[in-house]
Symmetry: C2
Subunit: 305 residues, 2 copies
């Protein structure tokens, strides 16, 4: 099963000719997800061959225009395309007010249901969970209520060490418990074997955290600690620190610091101000703090592994 | 002074990779105007080198998402760019509710004033007039309240026939009256000369009418009668007449009929359904009714002369 992220938009508020406002497509173990939905997302999806019909979950970090203006149009297109399966939207209450206003004024009754999940920007909470995946929202620190999201596999099951199980004559009916980490105790209570002797470790669960938009704040690093891949906004170079603080955004150096503090494996920076024509300036800065940094280039797919 | 129309978006609700939702830029005798503002208009303006700062008037036909989703982002970009000059917006009351909701939720106080002109889709009325130009809104017939717009020069003044005026010894203090079409009567009441003997005709005033979106309705032809250039939506080919009626749109043949009935000089068709990859099918159909038809191709500039 895939865990892959495709960048659809990497621009901050003002788009450029080749950079679009925030939007990402995430295939999270065959859960098809949009993260933010800036103006032009529909067209970016077409360009990168992502079918609109398969999107089941949309996560909205906050209701600044550059993160949401693509959403009403996408909803209307889904409706024109005769969608009937429900669409889950996660975001602040205000995004639903905006959707409702568009529906009201366009006098449109959707053929599918929008299932509303209101996020709370003041706490960390699980907002989607099933046997395969878990999504958590966490506070960001911006000019309006904003949350980040952590997308992760559920903890992987341990793998059975067949040779050891054979040796100790473990009945296969115990295998599910062993995969979940339980030690072995025979039915008659006479034989006890520690789980580690009967299984292999599965490695850590994969995870991806999305942090946009926010001022530099170490609480973000704490929220995403140990994440595999961290996307962090990096609107400005550090010489624009004052502007970053004023607008509650982050500089590239600061994004690197957050990744370092969070002990992430990889950092992806995005949400670039339109003033930068050469993004390597931002990449270079982030790398001074955190070497394994990459630019969120539109159309690029990151495999989370 | 220029009277030029540039097409920024020619798509109906669902954009394609190379066609964007409705938006047009009109230079009306140095009045810089946007007509509708679909998703992606900002980027299209950058692509075709139309400066956002010079736009002073935005006309919104109706509040379907594909005609307005570019507007909040454009307003925020103008604000980020430190705009201070007022922006006139003409449209139904609902567009202002939508703008207000975006401003509220983004907690943004604009640095410039939005001057609101609420249109009335039930009557024809002048909504902008000065010494040079006049803009009139007129009813269209769509699923939500919709208006078209006629943009025109004020009636041109007649030109003085200097030779004739010399011959009849007309004092130049009478010239302004002559230009406005008055006959000549000498101060002593003894000499009377008809205006036509002393002036040349100025030709008719130039005009451009925008009609999108609407079901086929002859009242539209009546509203725009005698217009120089008519833009009329042409969402479908005529074989999709039933779908056109159901969605309250027009077919290419019908658009040609309206142009013929209106006695326009030229017809431009647009608002094409994403199902058409070859637009010549629509062009051919319209031409069966009205030969001087052109396609609204994005980036193309039509000089109204």
């Amino acid at each position: 099963m895939s865990f892959e992220l495709t960048i659809l938009g990497n621009s901050s508020a003002t788009p450029t000719l080749d950079r679009h406002p925030s939007a990402q497509y995430l295939n999270l173990l065959e859960h098809h997800i949009l993260i933010d939905c800036g103006e032009g997302t529909q067209t970016q999806m077409s360009k990168y061959k992502i079918r609109k019909s398969k999107i089941e979950h949309i996560f909205i970090s906050h209701v600044h225009a550059d993160h949401i203006l693509g959403l009403p149009g996408l909803i209307f297109t889904m409706n024109l395309n005769q969608r009937t399966i429900p669409l889950h939207i996660y975001g602040p209450q205000s995004i639903f007010e905006i959707i409702d206003m568009f529906l009201k004024h366009s006098e449109t009754a959707l053929k599918f249901e929008i299932i509303r999940h209101v996020t709370n920007h003041q706490i960390t909470e699980i907002i989607l969970e099933n046997a395969l995946v878990k999504v958590t929202s966490f506070p960001l620190f911006h000019r309006v209520p904003t949350t980040g999201f952590i997308f992760q596999e559920q903890r992987k099951l341990k793998r059975i060490n067949m040779q050891a199980c054979d040796k100790f004559h473990i009945p296969f009916t115990y295998f599910n418990d062993l995969k979940r980490g339980k030690d072995y105790m025979s039915a008659d209570g006479k034989t006890y074997i520690e789980n580690e002797k009967l299984t292999f470790d599965a490695g850590s669960a994969l995870s991806y955290a999305y942090a946009s938009d926010t001022i530099f704040d170490e609480r973000v690093a704490a929220s995403v600690e140990g994440v595999k891949v961290l996307y962090h906004e990096s609107t400005f170079a550090h010489e624009k620190l004052e502007r970053a603080i004023e607008t509650m955004h982050t500089t590239a150096i600061q994004a690197g610091e957050i990744a370092k503090k969070a002990k992430a494996d990889k950092l992806i920076i995005g949400h670039f101000s339109s003033r930068y024509t050469d993004l390597n300036e931002l990449l270079f800065e982030a790398k001074t703090q955190f070497e394994n940094t990459e630019l969120a280039i539109e159309g690029k797919t990151f495999i989370i592994e």
